[in-house]
Subunit: 377 residues, 2 copies
């Protein structure tokens, strides 16, 4: 399985759906893949060995959070993020852009970067493309992201301006990035749900020739149909021999619809976040374990699930954990929810190899009570 | 290692210190042993597989808590506590007595039992010796405790009355207990720090001939010297061929001093409770990981420790978890703190076999900056 870092091979294709292998210095990533999110250098409530056990291969960490605390230089001095958080598999960091826009209070945006106040202590900071690259180099993830502007998706005119800045910043990031075997830099396609902007973004970024492409600015409030249509616009405009990463997307339905439109990587906080609010993903929809109907239920969350939680703990026990506000409840639900999405990605890979992805997709969607979204193109 | 349930063999003796084997339907307990506490049918923040990995053999669960929520009948109907919480090793339940006295508001104590209000919802409940036995039979632990009165340790006259009630209740518990191969019932020696009361309690309980004896009413505010002296009074009065369990005791110093005075079992919430407040046990004393001096410290909590946490995570990382209020911090510190006490008990066992317990004890105590407590007898 060892390959030259950051080469991507397409192992099988079924319609638009792709099964591939992306090689990194910390091992291969078999796609489609779902990446658990470790915001603060921990996938919340789950130990690294439980992550490995549930089948995770790639995990994500947040540049914005780690830059503010404990600091990227501290992590560099202690040997980098892999050693710091004890994760020997591939890691991806985002650029910090999205959190600057969503969490901090912004003082100034200009063509060189963003000045903002920390959501932790109000201290003033500045992120630029160069600074984001420097921080991500200190963190030392295998896959790093260009610094982009995440603008209001409904405002076409502003989005167009932000898009030009995002492309300008992508070229700056590319200049700072040392194209070594250590880190792969992905460009981020933006442009909301506007076909012309997405087309322009794909053109501008592919000209810069990145080892992979992220798709940003989706799953931010637009309709499922708009997301699907936008992915269909992007699919043929990105090179087939590079991985595509749909940022921040993590429901069963969205993973299936994304793979159906050529996406390879996904990440989302959803499975761990809802776990801390007593909710579990199942193949038949989301359930809240605190519901009284689970009080004496000896069955697992999902009969078909092979995770540690489903193999050993009943709904009744998980409900007792939730009612008692026990930490173990969050841990066991997180393990289950992450496994559901990690396993779904692996099952889609198998279906693609066996050229039955469309059947697989409709079956999984119909279990959830969803119809497959129609192709618009 | 299979032996007839609830037989106790003394494998080695060194001074008063004992190494033994207590056989249970869920496997042998090698003593001295430290039992992690799983109050609500979970050792807080630790999965059962992490408990096994850190070396735990015996765990404790609280009758009072499980009776109130989710209910002992529910646990019985779902196959008992072992299956419910997925712990295949030995389990010990307390009688509910201590929590009735410390957590609930008591309405009435009489010679038949206690009427109290739940600390959860204020509902009214009554516990009697018979009821405590019934609940503990429903829970299905390997080792169960007599229902006792935990009276104000400073009030000699009241303590004497409470002690008579405790002995009366012990005989009632013994009558209800089916002396089967399924559950061992331990009597609880009470009497505060008063030699005559402890002597009377040992006499009354050994007459009832239990498979083991717990020592209650210590570590409730008395001095270390008083605890040591009381254990020295009790030691020769309990039969050598039955295990002795010092309830609620769990510091390094107390474990060493307890084994030096003939104690076999210990339990305490301390290691997991302090973990959730960012504190770690080390062989050189307790540290608070949030202290700034750990910020860039690449070393483990304890160089000599073989636990998962110390093998893979630095003090700097654990401090980051604590500063970020991440659940994983509580989990990793709990694993370490539990391992410290579980391993200490195992190391004492080895030292007893090698007839060097006294040296071992003074070395461990001097690392902590304590002198061994003098024998008073």
């Amino acid at each position: 399985m060892l390959g030259k870092p950051f080469t991507f091979s397409l192992d099988a294709v079924d319609g638009r759906a792709r099964a591939g292998t992306f090689h990194t210095p910390h091992g291969p990533i078999l796609t489609p893949v779902f990446a658990p999110v470790g915001t603060q250098a921990t996938v919340k409530a789950v130990t690294p060995r439980d992550l490995t056990d549930l089948g995770a291969t790639l995990i994500l960490a947040n540049t914005y959070h780690l830059y503010l605390r404990p600091g990227d230089e501290l992590i560099r001095d202690l040997g980098g993020l892999h050693k710091f958080m004890h994760w020997d598999g591939p890691i991806l960091t985002d650029s910090g852009g999205f959190q600057v826009w969503s969490l901090s209070s912004i003082n100034r945006i200009d063509d060189d970067g963003v000045t903002f106040r920390s959501h932790i202590d109000g201290s003033s900071h500045r992120l630029t493309p160069e600074r984001s690259m420097g921080i991500q180099q200190n963190l030392g993830a295998d896959i790093i992201m260009c610094f982009d502007e995440c603008a209001d998706p409904a405002n076409y005119d502003y989005l167009k301006t932000a898009l030009m800045r995002t492309h300008y910043w992508a070229s700056k990031c590319r200049d700072v990035w040392r194209n070594t075997d250590e880190q792969a830099l992905f460009g981020i396609v933006q442009g909301g749900v506007f076909e012309d902007l997405r087309t322009e973004s794909c053109r501008a970024l592919t000209e810069l020739d990145f080892p992979g492409y992220a798709i940003g600015g989706l799953s931010v409030g637009e309709s499922k149909a708009d997301m699907a249509r936008t992915l269909e616009v992007i699919d043929p405009l990105l090179p087939a021999n590079k991985p595509r990463y749909l940022m921040g997307v993590g429901t069963i339905q969205d993973l299936v619809e994304g793979v159906a439109r050529g996406v390879d990587f996904f990440d989302c906080v959803l499975p761990t976040r809802i776990a801390r609010h007593d909710a579990a993903l199942t193949n038949f929809g989301q359930i809240n374990i605190i519901n009284a109907k689970h009080a004496r239920d000896d069955s697992p969350l999902d009969d078909a699930c092979s995770c540690y939680t489903c193999q050993h703990f009943s709904r009744a026990y998980l409900r007792h954990m939730a009612k008692s506000k026990e930490i173990l409840g969050a841990t066991l639900l997180s393990i289950h929810n992450l496994h559901m999405l990690v396993q779904l990605a692996q099952d889609m890979r198998t279906a693609i190899f066996e050229h039955r992805f469309e059947d697989f997709a409709s079956q999984r969607l119909s279990q959830l009570g969803c119809k497959p979204l129609k192709e618009t193109s």
